[in-house]
């Protein structure tokens, strides 16, 4: 609940002697310290928790401060403007404002904005904005006019959006209001006309704004006593064009509509605003906190001595000029829950029912599920949540009922309709639920296999294996390679058993049935073409990373065998599998696995399939080593590491079997030769390392200057 705490007055000296009350209250670079600029000639630095002033500065008689003092967060200095054009910059140690740094500018200043993380920005009355350092480098530079004649700046504020300052200012001309947004990362200025709507005649009395990612939410308090909200986009669709933004009613009659003066508004957080002004005609002035979400008055506090109609809010404190003294009212908004309000935060735990957290953090529970697949607890939470969601969502309910009895065609149509709706936050749970419904029906009547619907659902990118464990099982049963390929591409958490089962199917399925299947071929480029083109360039050296394997230390046995693997390589240069099967196998290569869990399952693959897969992998390796970057052509090809890992895995799992197969012999020999050459390379590298180190030493000695020298040093 939002609450106002007991306030306290800050100053012993009367403030607000000028005609317009205080000029401003601004944050200083230290927490808890604030710069208060009086309307006349004084700037006072207050420490709020101590309720005492830390320093006070004033300009000479005859000069008048025209803009509230701010703190430059980058240097810790303070900046004030007097007589519209004269900048003064000073720090805590300075005593006399006359003696501090001074810069006279060529145009009149409206405000200086300073915000953490950016240099101070100077807003001129004509609408131009400059960075402080750029201004100080050349104080007399010409300042352009941005707004038209008779247009007057009414209000301004600065925000940090993605680490860049964004400045908004509101101008008025003949009762029309305009908003300007100045962005500093792109140096664009966009102008918006505020359309007042039906309340044409009302005068806006106070503004406040807060920033969301894409919008500045501009709130205005009109003379009719209502608060309106206008969403001004930070990134305009068309910056050149004059755009119009419409305001909408946010809160009705928060202050009395005959209060001409002394009303102010400031936004506190996402849902709360503070309003200063008399709530009823002829009542005393009040400060009240409104919840904009529920449109309720949270708390209010009477300020009997009258205010200047100004309100500032920093950190946790509201600043109000109460009578002649500055008053600080701490504001607190504690998180409250409905359950807490009803006093039923503690559940009575019935035996047999599982307590479910009140707020399921979807992100964490999802991550947890991905991490450990057998976490029963989190699954149960998910189920619970799903059923809850189902009850609430009518669109999915309709679809679910369709699944129960309708034909595949009809379900497809319903699904299309459902997917066309904007995704809700619990979209993935609903999708998961739909899939399990579909699979449930498939189990009940095996003839029912809604393939298209399933594919559509997989392509929503929100499914994972643990969300619908039955899906891949069913696809494996049906030997539906298309769905399996999709699953392998989309699911992040496929168990190794399933991966291995997929591999078995991909290797064993006949070419004929593959031809019929529609398979995503993007990972396979037409190898046969490139073979024809690049065959000319192919050299055995490339294969060995520039190291010639045919050296004497490779042993005699190699020499004998040299011919044969060469031929074998020639043979395998044509892809051993058809492109469609290659695409499927690539999906396997891309999938994630853990060696320890995968190895036992790989042992179950029949020997001729192992050989085929090895041949394909070897073919891919040869393709890889054809170019310097060691990559395969194509859109999403397997990487060299994946290929190598799988070769090792397959050999580890099936070595004793593969060794016995005559057709694998040449393949094994070429692999053996490859490994041997790699070892040679490593040993050569180790030899070279010594020479390199010597070279490095020589180089260092050259760089190293004399043991003694006389140099010139200038310190700045």
């Amino acid at each position: 609940m939002a609450a106002l705490e007991e306030g306290f007055t800050l100053s012993a000296v009367p403030l607000g002697a000028g005609p317009h009350g205080l000029l401003g209250v601004e944050q200083s670079d230290k927490a808890d310290q604030f710069l208060v600029t009086d309307g006349g000639r004084t700037v006072i630095l207050y420490k709020v928790s101590d309720q005492k002033p830390l320093g006070s500065w004033s300009v000479k008689q005859g000069q008048i401060i025209t803009c509230p003092a701010v703190c430059n967060f980058q240097t810790g200095e303070y900046i004030v403007v007097h007589d519209n054009k004269v900048l003064r910059i000073w720090s805590n140690e300075d005593v006399n404002l006359d003696k501090v740094f001074k810069a006279t500018l060529s145009a009149e200043i409206y405000r200086i904005h300073s915000i953490q993380g950016a240099e101070p920005l100077v807003l001129f009355k004509e609408g131009a904005v400059r960075g402080l350092e750029a201004l100080l480098a050349e104080p007399q530079q010409k300042i352009e006019t941005v707004i038209s004649d008779e247009e007057v700046i009414k209000w301004t504020k600065i925000f940090m959006v993605f680490k860049h300052p964004v400045l908004i200012f509101i101008t008025e001309k003949h009762g029309n209001y305009f908003a300007y947004i100045q962005k500093f990362n792109s140096h664009t200025l966009s102008k918006y006309t505020l359309v007042l709507g039906q309340e044409e005649k009302s005068v806006i009395q106070s503004f406040t704004a807060s920033v969301d990612r894409k919008f500045i939410s501009l709130m205005s308090l009109s003379s009719d006593g209502c608060i309106y909200e206008t969403l001004v986009p930070i990134h305009p669709s068309d910056p050149e064009k004059d755009q119009r933004v419409v305001r909408s009613l946010l809160l009705k009659t928060v202050v009395s509509d005959d209060a001409r003066n002394g009303v102010a508004l400031t936004v506190l957080d996402q849902d709360h605003v503070a309003v200063l002004g008399p709530p009823l005609p002829s009542s005393k002035e009040c400060i009240s906190i409104w919840n904009t979400k529920f449109q309720t008055l949270q708390t209010s506090k009477e300020l009997s001595q009258g205010t200047s109609g100004q309100l500032w809010y920093y950190g946790e404190n509201l600043f109000v000029l109460h009578g002649k003294f500055l008053m600080v009212i701490p504001y607190k908004c504690e998180v409250s829950s409905l359950a807490g309000a009803l006093g039923k935060l503690k559940h009575s735990q019935d035996p047999g029912t599982q307590t479910v957290p009140h707020f399921v953090n979807w992100e964490t529970s999802r991550g947890h599920r991905l991490g450990s697949q057998n976490s029963e607890q989190s699954k149960r939470i998910l189920r619970r949540r799903k059923t809850e969601v189902n009850v609430q969502n009518p669109a999915s309910k309709q679809l679910l009922s369709a699944i129960k009895k309708d034909s595949e065609k009809h379900i497809e149509e319903e699904l299309c309709k459902f997917l066309a709706i904007k995704p809700t936050p619990d979209f993935n749970t609903i999708i998961g639920d739909i899939v399990s419904e579909l699979l449930g029906r498939h189990k009940a009547e095996p003839s029912f296999y809604p393939r298209n619907s399933l594919m559509q659902l997989i392509q929503t990118h929100v499914l994972s294996h643990s969300l619908c464990p039955g899906l891949m099982e069913a696809a494996l049963e049906k030997a539906d390679v298309q769905v399996l390929q999709l699953c392998l591409q989309q699911f992040p958490d496929i168990p190794e058993t399933v991966t291995c089962a997929c591999l078995k199917i991909f290797l064993s399925i006949s070419d004929g049935s593959l031809q019929e299947a529609e398979i995503n071929m993007e990972s396979v480029s037409d190898y046969s073409d490139s073979v024809q083109e690049e065959k000319m360039e192919e050299q055995t050296e490339v294969l060995h990373n520039g190291f010639n394997a045919e050296e004497e230390n490779c042993g005699n046995c190699d020499r004998e065998l040299n011919k044969k693997p060469q031929d074998a390589a020639e043979e395998t240069m044509s892809c051993p599998v058809i492109p469609k099967r290659a695409a499927l196998l690539n999906a396997i290569l891309h999938s994630a696995y853990s060696e320890m869990f995968l190895l036992p399952h790989l042992k179950d693959i029949p020997a001729q399939h192992v050989t085929l897969f090895l041949q394909y992998l070897y073919f891919l390796y040869l393709k890889c080593s054809e170019n310097a970057t060691m990559t395969l052509p194509g859109l999403h090809p397997p990487t060299l590491n994946q290929i190598m890992d799988w070769i090792c895995l397959l050999l580890d799992a099936n070595f004793t079997v593969v060794v016995m197969i005559p057709e694998a012999k040449s393949l094994l020999l070429s692999l053996y030769k490859f490994v041997k050459s790699q070892i040679c390379i490593c040993s050569e590298l180790n030899k070279i390392e010594v020479s390199f180190r010597e070279l490095q030493k020589l180089n260092q000695e050259k760089n190293n200057r004399e043991l003694y020298s006389i140099e010139v040093l200038e310190l700045f």
């Binding site: 200095e77 350092e133 003694y708 140099e711």
Partner: protein, 686 residues
Amino acid sequence: MGEFKVHRVRFFNYIPSGIRCVAYNNQSNRLAVSRTDGTVEIYNLSANYFQEKFFPGHESRATEALCWAKGQRLFSAGLNGEIIEYDLQALNIKYAVDAFGGPIWSMAVSPHGSQLLVGCEDGSVKLFQITPDKIQFERNFDRQKSRILSLCWHPSGTHVAAGSIDYISVFDVKSGSAVHKMLVDRQYMGVSKRKCIIWGVAFLSDGTVISVDSAGKVQFWDSATGTLVKNHLIANADVQSIAVSDQEDSFVVGTAEGTVFHFQLVSVTSNSSEKQWVRTKPFQHHTHDVRAVAHSPTALISGGTDTHLVIRPLMEKVEVKNYDAALRKITFPHRRLISCSKKRQLLLFQFTHHLELWRLGSTVATGKNGDTLPLSRNADHLLHLKTKGPENIICSCISPCGSWIAYSTTSRFFLYRLNYEHDNISLQRVSKMPAFLRSALQILFSEDSTKLFVASNQGSLHVIRLLEGSFKHLHTFQPQSGTVESMCLLAVSPDGNWLASSGTSAGVHVYNIKHLKLHCTVPSYNFPVTALAIAPNTNNLVIAHSDQQVFEYSIPDKQYTEWSRTIQKQGFHYLWLQRDTPITHISFHPKRPMHILLHDAYMFCIIDKSLPLPNDKTLLYNPLPPTKESDVIRRRTAHAFKISKIYKPLLFMDLLDERTLVAVERPLDDIIAQLPPPIKKKKFGT
């Protein structure tokens, strides 16, 4: 700010000695480090790792073991067969006791701190009782076949594990007999090595013995049954050291490959009570053998042949991200090894067993910032003065006029008179040094070279008048009653009237030389003094502390100066406070009274007291010259600290005259080049 000609000296061929042992004391948060030349250093970990004390080494005294006993007493034992206790107040050796067992390889203090155990070359383990002022031999344990290389007490004090060659023995303390003998596998990567040396053992309260050996193994033994429980092969070379944390939930081992491994006791699965030792983190901060490791509650400490002392904080144990959370590498001693004669442009370098005197070169050329000027005369090596006897040099000094050199070892004080005749130099030893001048911790000459100040290790300060070829004892300032703290730092005012001296903990004393009496004592501060100097004319005493604070104290007024109060009120720049080496030397500009020159190992700074102080928002270190367009900003941000980081590691820097500086650098590469080659590791492939 100023342009200087800088004599950039890199011919100081100083090699720190390798680290042999480290011992951490939890109560005082101090670390004792012994080096291969026998030097023992004490680091105060609470005072920014400042090396506050040191005991000079001795050629025949190779320290093999170092440990703290109850009441913060420090013992060492070495290959000369002696057990030594150090006097941490007077900074000398209290006594040495021969254990009569040949070279001592290992030593351990009992958990209660009242008994001392040493392992000797002849295979004997000897138990000593620690009495308030000495140690007394009590008895021998069962004699073993070969030398005892490592020892560790069980936390209850009932049993002791001793590592030898090829086996570990477990002794019962009461009976002194070996309960178990656990044989260690000699096999190393399948090849049978000649011997397996147990370099370190640790005894945990649950009875587990952890051993590290020359075959690269870390092994866990059950001392109740004498069986091997677990084996970790962690290195292809020797694992040379082990240290366990007080909680026994983590330990650290160091290998000859320069790697330090952290082992932690972690749960087998989450929320299960079964725990096992897991090798968690490897650290490679060393290039050579890690001979010694220690485990403080928040950090792993390691040192070895590559001479660095590395303090690696355990991030999970560090609560706030402050200074203690940073990795520290201490290479150079925190005291001055160099002194300089401004008049003759001479540098005196102090090594372990000799002194070198060099004359700087000269140039007539001028240049702009960054230029290297052509030399008209190169630097000359004038003198190589070797010490007599096996003791290491403690301190040395050359007089400002260049005609006196003084140095001291633990038992002798030497004073030499130098005569210059054109290019010839002759050296004459001043004989008949008085008996009280036996050992000095710090030596200083007055600015006019007529007086010599010697801080002896009993806390007294001797003032000696130097005459042509002889000397006269003027006065001795006795320490304040009741204190025996030795003075480590001295400073004399250029007019010769004031002498300031500081010990390791108490405040700085200022003496009036004219009236030969104590003038005042600067209030003591929580952190030890790292450097002292008295400014000319004003007689302001500038004091640098190990927490990087700098104070200025007016001696005539007996109070801190206005500037010092201002900077204390505002505080130093956070980057200044985060530097990790202490200021080791302070000097002044003869013509610019507002300037203070000081340096640490990585920067040299001129503080201009007339300029405003920097706050945390301003750029502390700005090496770029001002350019036209940023003049406005520059003018507004100019501050008192002018810093140069060109010369590093900087061992010494001083002002020779108004426009000339001398900077002595010791590049780390030059040190590494002179160390023995590290174990070669293959970078590529299998």
